[in-house]
Symmetry: C2
Subunit: 149 residues, 2 copies
DNA sequence: CACAGCAGTTGCACAATACACATTGATTGC
DNA sequence: GCAATCAATGTGTATTGTGCAACTGCTGTG
């Protein structure tokens, strides 16, 4: 009774705590803004509806979160370039700067966790994590774009 | 600009969503009960204060969550065997049964995600995940016991 | 023009959590 | 042996993130 799947189930349970708990005002971006902005940065301008589709959150939630991002200057609202009815949110220069800063801070923290890891172990972990996520997304029918790698 | 740490940062961000979002009444245990029960199952009876230490949550939160578990028959309250003042929560036979059922359900779901994975990949992922968690816990000074492995 | 349909917004409700204060039960100085 | 105290827990209230449902506003169609 100690299959890899059981171990993975256990470890992902713990990881979920580690990943969600420490989000305590690290940077100036709250968790939702960081995630949304990261997606918009990769994908280009997105509407509330597209964000809803991407995140599986309610449109009302996304509406509030995007409004907050708008007020805080992370994005601006633009008409759909394709002529559609929806407005889209495009990342601002300031938003991009703050996103990159936030990410750099996260990566710095991660580096201290990975201190004793060899390059091979890091690469292997990154690869397996990516594959795991892709398989979850495939199973959920909600694929997530990766940065051009 | 594509270090392993950056990729891991990105993927853990996504994983956090995948891990927390789908907790939608899968089984009869809510997320907190599953987590607490899992810890109590491994560690043996724990008090509210010990759970607070373990999870980094407020005692008030733990007090409510343990009360709910008590009412739902997952644990019972026992005096501290060491004679201390605190009461401890011990898992009940029913709680153990329901915990195992919940875990089995989770593992089944995980199996479908891991469908195309070789045994070696699964083992490697489990090992790296465990190491990652241990390093996070070490860094946070809050180690988590593993099941006797 | 009136209306059907859709994207977005706003009004509630609820769950998880934290903070501050109340309660309870054991310990100890006198 | 009792009052002061303290440690562990519980309760009241606020905040935050979220969902559902009802509403708004806009667009294209008859």
């Amino acid at each position: 009774m100690d299959t890899a799947a059981e171990r993975i189930e256990f470890e992902t349970l713990l990881l979920a705590r580690h990943l969600t708990r420490p989000r305590r005002g690290d940077g100036d971006l709250d968790a939702s803004a960081y995630l949304l902005l990261s997606r918009i940065d990769i994908d280009g301008p997105l509407s509330v509806g597209e964000l809803r589709e991407a995140f599986g959150l309610d449109t009302s939630t996304l509406s509030r979160q995007t409004t907050a991002m708008l007020k805080s200057g992370l994005v601006h609202r633009i008409p759909d370039p394709a002529g559609g009815l929806a407005r889209k949110f495009r990342i601002t220069a300031d938003g991009k700067r703050r996103l990159d800063a936030e990410r750099a801070g996260n990566v710095r923290g991660l580096e201290t966790v990975l201190e004793g890891w060899t390059t091979d172990d890091r690469d292997a972990f990154a690869n397996l994590l990516e594959r795991f996520n892709l398989d979850i997304e495939r199973r959920a029918g909600r694929p997530w774009p990766r940065p051009e790698s």
